[in-house]
Symmetry: C2
Subunit: 530 residues, 2 copies
């Protein structure tokens, strides 16, 4: 046996050589799998901070900020990895929404990922809307399938043949089911993390009622939950409204939505939709029931969904040049506690105070964490957690220890405050609520500042070029919307209706449609959109 | 305008004709979509009760009992609809397991459904194990994809290229991720609801450590959680053990599992698996880290999963000739309260007492429901809820009302008991615990009664034909297991190792392998399996 120290040296040498080789290979793999993201990865490792500003290049900024622990780009275009930092946000919203719909007696289920072509194509308008985006499985192992099988883009046609089977009499109604699942829409327009991806996570609710009145009521109950997700959880202001005939769900009766707006790009985002399907699918899938008078009737149906897109809207709304800014209600870490030791100070005491502070907050139900990493400076840690968007930072240094206080720094506005350790929990709770509220208020002000009322075509075009959220009197004719789309087609996409807000401003008698000059029927939001 | 009454008559007539037509069409659809299940549906609608007994035709019995609200057969073979009755069970297990792994600092994430072929095929042993079952997407809309894309059968190869990117230094370890998702394995062997389906739900944990010791420890921690799911939640006894080299996970170092046994068929079921992958994937995907001495090392990895199969094992274990039997801990309805009115009795009083009883139980955290449907007799309701497997039935009739008591009837053993309403909650809590415990004990006794120790080949064959769970001394050689498989091949499938239990009986010096006659190394469970 060789001398142990000699042997060890040999092993070290071998490992070093291996490291070299592996580094080269690893870099190659990283290059291959992240398609050109290499430059920025290196940047991230050597320094901190985003390489572009939100106002200067929004697209680049968004992509960069998403990669701050939220998303990893995947080697299949349009597919993204949801990392724990974003998944935790999804889970928090899920817990809220799932509990709320369970109160409404909605039950969870799971229908298959696959649809046979015959069923998929049953509802003509519906399939026309989705056909170009459907992904098809044609092989298993090395064998061709007898019949190609579609991957669900949404589950109306997956579910409703069984609704027809399960619903026989009025006692079987209402039938209220929901599923949390993935869906696939193989789109070819520019993919964007969270906002437009080929696979995404969502919930889809599918309900059937005996009467239209019940269906109508539920559409709005669900829409209100979607509003709450955006406004109360994500601190993103939204408008509740009705989609136009052109923009409604393919095959449905009418579509309501919550619409958000991104000031930087001047684009609307459809936040979530709650559809009344009417009796259209019921007719196609023969979903009938025997009413109390033993007569056969068709059911009235709804479907409603929100997706991981919510997270993208939140990032776009709140993020800044330092990185993500997470609303406290959805942040998986609400408070980070960072020690700020000085050379002669009681370092251990500071570290202990950080641990104690984080523990005290956790015990009070606040999601807090201490960052005791010894290989980074306090300043580096500040930037790191700012980048990750943690709503509140607590710093503890020698003077804080002496004065029995901690320093708080808000992520949303940078405001610093020294608070006594004795009232830590109450103070932090209050601060988190204030941050949540302020983020919503600021976002709302920014959006309001973009709203532009227009009356004429010229005003419309001017506002569109100024990236405004346009509110215009409209005749509500499909042909006119198509015409507006055609006339505004350009590099940045055509303008279309976003929604007609339920909360309608007064429409004076004789007001004319901005586009057609015909009598206006309602105020409608217009703009380009994601 | 026509006379309203005339018009109404006309509408009724039209509707009736429509009903007829629709009935015919609906029957056609049902026939088409449920492939021959028609006969039984009619049975279910006209009467109650299963058409076959568990002991007489287990396969038919299982299929029928699954259709009691747990599963709906789907029009694509091997895919099933999970109805709310089974989904609720899945969710209860999920809440338990998710909380436990979060305590272990595992974080949830979500990786794409799709894998590119290059990555999928990177680990040779692994892909050999899965290749024949992989479903391939080759088209979107009407266009062929440039490269076919695989649907994940499991996510090792989906995830590990990114582990390689994320893990750089020892401070990045351990990396512990989990995802709740669907996976697809396009198998051609007989599909069975829950037990073997082409798409199923599961969680998959993927962890990476600096040392083998940490990985080894986690393998067993997770396995213990799987044991708890089976034994504490599903009341199904399992054996913890090590899989043989032939049966271990493709590409892994070693596989541990919890194994259940179905006495009726004499088949083992792999309940859940916790794998140590060693450094095999780390090598293929170059998952290296710099240790504290600045040397490059490879990580040690685990992966572990349990799926909706758990629910199938539970149904097989506890179901009886009256239908499902659900363990209280996972039943979405633990107690059903049924009014038993007599003609002259205070019916409203009885109904009110039922509502009050269910409310009192719900308030105490028990999942209770009253069944006040007025179109069914109490007897019909008893059978209905027995079929659905609700653990405890409460009956309230005039005499109960008079005596301020309720009658309880256990689903597991039919035992009836009158309990005073004053101590309702305590009694019911106690009963539910007893039912849970008893279901486990009975299942355990039934399994123990099937265990057969054998020493020779002849004893082995005899025990196999008698559907025993065979415990045999084995030389632990791969060739011998392959040989046993070859020699036992038959209509009902070949026998193989299930696991070598961690809890080993004494193996006297000189004991020989039952199959090869070579010195035995361990006791191993053998049998046919699902």
């Amino acid at each position: 046996m060789a001398d142990p120290s000699e042997q060890k040296e040999k092993v070290v040498k071998e490992k070093k050589e291996k490291v070299k080789k592996e580094k080269v290979v690893k870099e190659k793999v990283a290059k291959a799998s992240s398609s050109g993201q290499k430059k920025k990865d290196v940047k991230k490792e050597t320094g901190l901070g985003l390489s572009v500003k939100k106002d200067e290049n929004f697209g680049e900024w968004y992509s960069e900020v998403c990669k701050q622990d939220m998303i990893e780009y995947y080697d299949i275009s349009g597919c993204y990895i949801l990392r724990p930092w974003s998944m935790a946000i999804w889970e928090i919203m899920q817990i809220f929404f799932d509990a709320e719909i369970k109160k409404m007696k909605v039950k969870n289920c799971y229908f298959p990922l696959f649809v046979s072509p015959g069923v998929l194509e049953k509802e003509k308008d519906h399939i026309e809307g989705f056909a170009p985006e459907v992904a098809w499985v044609t092989k298993s192992g090395k064998s061709d399938l007898e019949v190609p099988i579609a991957i669900r883009p949404t589950s109306e046609t997956v579910m409703y043949p069984y609704y027809s089977k399960w619903i026989r009499g009025h006692r079987d109604l209402p039938l209220k089911l929901n599923q949390w699942c993935n869906v696939v829409r193989w789109e070819f327009s520019n993919p964007t993390p969270f906002i437009r991806s080929r696979e995404f996570l969502w919930q889809e609710g599918h309900t059937a009622f005996a009467t239209k009145a019940e269906a109508d009521e539920e559409v709005l109950q669900i829409l209100e939950l979607y509003r709450r997700i955006y406004e109360e959880y994500l601190a993103v202001p939204v408008v509740k409204g009705m989609k136009s005939e052109n923009e409604k769900f393919a095959g449905g009766l009418y579509t309501t939505s919550v619409e958000a707006f991104i000031p930087n790009t001047g684009r609307g985002v459809q936040g979530a939709t709650s559809h009344c399907l009417g009796q259209n699918f019921a007719k196609m899938f023969e979903i009938n029931f025997e009413n109390e008078k033993a007569e056969t009737e068709m059911v009235w149906q709804n479907s409603w969904a929100y997706s991981t897109r919510t997270i993208g809207v939140m990032i776009m709304t709140h993020g800044d040049d330092k990185g993500l800014v997470l609303p406290p209600k959805v942040a998986s870490v609400q408070v980070v506690v960072i020690p700020v030791p000085y050379k002669d100070a009681n370092t251990q005491g500071i570290y202990d105070a950080c641990t104690a502070t984080a523990s005290a907050l956790c015990e009070a139900g606040i999601r807090a964490e201490e960052d005791l990493r010894d290989n980074y400076s306090p300043g580096w840690k500040y930037s790191d957690w700012e980048m990750k968007g943690v709503p509140l930072r607590i710093e503890i240094g020698p003077r804080d220890l002496e004065n029995d206080q901690v320093r708080t720094v808000r992520r949303d506005n940078g405001v610093k405050e020294d608070i006594p350790r004795g009232s830590l929990v109450e103070h932090v709770k209050e601060l988190l609520e204030k941050i949540q509220q302020n983020m919503y208020e600021v976002a709302k002000q920014k959006r309001e500042a973009c709203v532009q009322e227009v009356k004429t075509w010229d005003e419309f075009i001017k506002a569109l070029n100024e990236k405004k959220l346009i509110l215009a009197p409209w005749c509500d004719e499909e042909e006119v919307e198509r015409d507006v789309k055609a006339r505004t087609k350009g590099e940045t996409g055509a303008a279309k209706t976003l929604c007609s807000p339920f909360d309608q401003p007064e429409l004076p008698e004789g007001t004319l449609c901005f586009a057609s000059g015909k009598p206006a029927k309602k105020w409608t939001y217009w703009g380009r959109s994601y």
